[in-house]
């Protein structure tokens, strides 16, 4: 959270359209367990009220952030402070980002960052096939790894492939990429948000920069985390939060 990379405005050719993105800062690392835990403790957020969590999944015993009854606060399992937070919901990730003046990346922004501005790159490091030295994936390790464990990409961004997948702002439609920037008409909201980047427990194919899938925005899984982006010209994030909490399924 202490380091970010500035991304200049640039035009990208997408489906015969020119789309300009940029003029933002993006965190060089994924959001960590320590950062989320400290924020939730400091704000005394009732995360698990009524048996259902809001920000992160505190009910799965295998996840690192757990409620400590004796201390009446959240604590992190030993050794996981500097690991990317997993089990975080989309709305939880956006709320944390919002609280520090940022938001989540849109899918196109995320891909631009993963490829260091060259969307033709297959992986963040180039076209070389993945290995256990380049990224944490495919159960080679069996869990997330500390941020900055693997080499960064050209822009200095770590874990753009592997360790934890990353929530994006966009609603996910299987047939349409970059939905937020494409103004896709006539499609419904099916309750899934786009996730990118692959993770410790997913296969090599998920590491490809164009790989994408959808996940229910209310769920916090063992392999999905988040990265924060700050617009130079701050956008209004509150409507996105409101959308998430009132989304209906058609």
């Amino acid at each position: 959270m202490k380091e970010s990379h500035y991304v200049e405005k640039k035009l990208y050719s997408i489906s015969e359209k020119q789309i300009e993105i940029g003029d933002f800062f993006i965190s060089t690392t994924l959001l960590t367990n320590e950062f989320v835990m400290e924020m939730v403790n400091a704000l005394k957020i009732e995360n698990g009220k009524g048996g259902a969590y809001i920000i992160f999944n505190e009910f799965n015993p295998s996840l690192p952030i757990q409620w400590n009854q004796d201390m009446q606060c959240y604590r992190i399992k030993k050794g996981y402070k500097d690991h990317p937070v997993c089990g975080i919901t989309w709305q939880g990730a956006l709320l944390i980002a919002f609280l520090v003046g940022g938001r989540l990346p849109f899918e196109l922004e995320w891909e631009a960052c993963a490829t260091s501005g060259d969307l033709k790159k297959k992986y963040p490091w180039g076209d070389e096939e993945p290995s256990a030295q380049l990224a944490n994936y495919g159960e080679h390790i069996g869990s997330t790894t500390p941020v900055k464990r693997y080499p960064p990409n050209e822009w200095g961004l770590y874990d753009m492939a592997g360790s934890a997948e990353e929530w994006c702002m966009d609603w996910y439609y299987p047939d349409h990429f970059y939905t937020a920037h494409q103004s896709i008409p006539g499609v419904h909201r099916y309750g899934e948000k786009t996730v990118k980047g692959g993770s410790w427990n997913k296969g090599a194919k998920r590491l490809q920069c164009t790989s994408r899938r959808g996940k229910w925005y209310r769920i916090g899984t063992v392999g999905i985390g988040a990265r924060i982006l700050w617009d130079s010209q701050p956008m209004e994030v509150i409507p996105w939060l409101r959308t998430a909490t009132t989304a209906t399924h058609i």
Binding site: G51, A52, E192
Partner: protein, 269 residues
């Protein structure tokens, strides 16, 4: 529109593997254990039966009345399961809910069930070997259930005995209630040994064909053992045979004598 589905299995039966295998299909999305791993209440009421007639469309079940956040979560979950994109399908996998299947049928009436089973000797060995009986509080749940429904039986004490009874109780409950659903029974061993027959059959039950991505996932999963307790990467040898060396003679005898009827029914004896 495709029916929602549930992969139901006892703990340590390969449900993560089948979950990921199904989800490797580009049109299938599966939520892993929304009741037992995404809620703060269902592990506490494991093996407390919920009946179909207790279902209520507003509060879902009387027990939930004081948990409005959980009611909302479960209502959202149901909406999510029954509203897939175009010709896609959505489902969940669970290792609990055996005693709540009547209620589940009222909660999501069109739910299809893939009932996944594994040789109980392998299941018990895995649970004991990884001390998973603590996570699931078998010593707190199993004796209470047995006192009510198996009053003539000697209450199990050791982890292997508790795990044996957990399997017996849950598999018995499943067979009592599965006829409420469109269901299929899948043996993990069959998938692993004869994937060419059993994987297409599994996907056919769900209404689709196996894809190349699923075959790739399958072959990668069994190439070698990797990862930790919940990894889907296990060698075929480990899946099929690790219990044979790890399970003590006494525990094997206990399992085979107490589960004889179920094991014969499922082809394990």
């Amino acid at each position: 529109m495709r029916c929602p589905f549930m992969i139901l299995s006892h703990h340590r039966s390969g449900s993560n593997f089948v979950h990921d295998l199904v989800q490797a299909h580009p049109r299938y999305e599966c939520i892993s254990e929304p009741f037992s791993m995404h809620s703060g209440i269902f592990r506490d009421i494991d093996l407390v039966p919920w009946l179909a007639e207790e279902f209520d469309d507003t509060v879902l079940h009387p027990y939930l009345t004081s948990y409005p956040e959980t009611i909302q979560f479960l209502q959202n979950l149901r909406d999510f399961l029954v509203s897939p994109y175009k010709d896609h399908a959505r489902g969940m996998k669970e290792t609990m809910l055996f005693e709540k299947l009547g209620w589940v049928n009222a909660y999501v009436p069109d739910l299809k069930i893939v009932f996944l089973v594994r040789d109980p000797r392998a299941v018990v060995h895995s649970i004991v070997n990884r001390a998973m009986y603590r996570l699931w509080n078998y010593s707190g749940k199993i004796p209470v259930y047995m006192h009510q429904y198996y009053p003539e039986e000697v209450i199990p004490v050791t982890p292997a005995q508790l795990s044996t009874w957990s399997w017996k109780i849950r598999i018995g409950l499943a067979y009592e209630m599965l006829n409420l659903f469109d269901y299929t029974v899948v043996r993990l061993e069959d998938i692993v040994v004869h994937p060419e027959d059993h994987l297409p059959a599994l996907m056919d039950f769900l209404g689709d064909e196996m894809t190349d991505a699923q075959w790739t996932f399958f072959h990668n999963s069994h190439h070698q053992t990797r990862g930790k307790a919940y990894s889907t990467r296990r060698s075929i040898e480990e899946v099929l045979n690790s219990w044979k060396e790890g399970l003590s003679h006494d525990n094997r005898q206990y399992i085979e004598s107490h589960l004889r009827e179920e094991m014969v029914r499922l082809g394990y004896l």
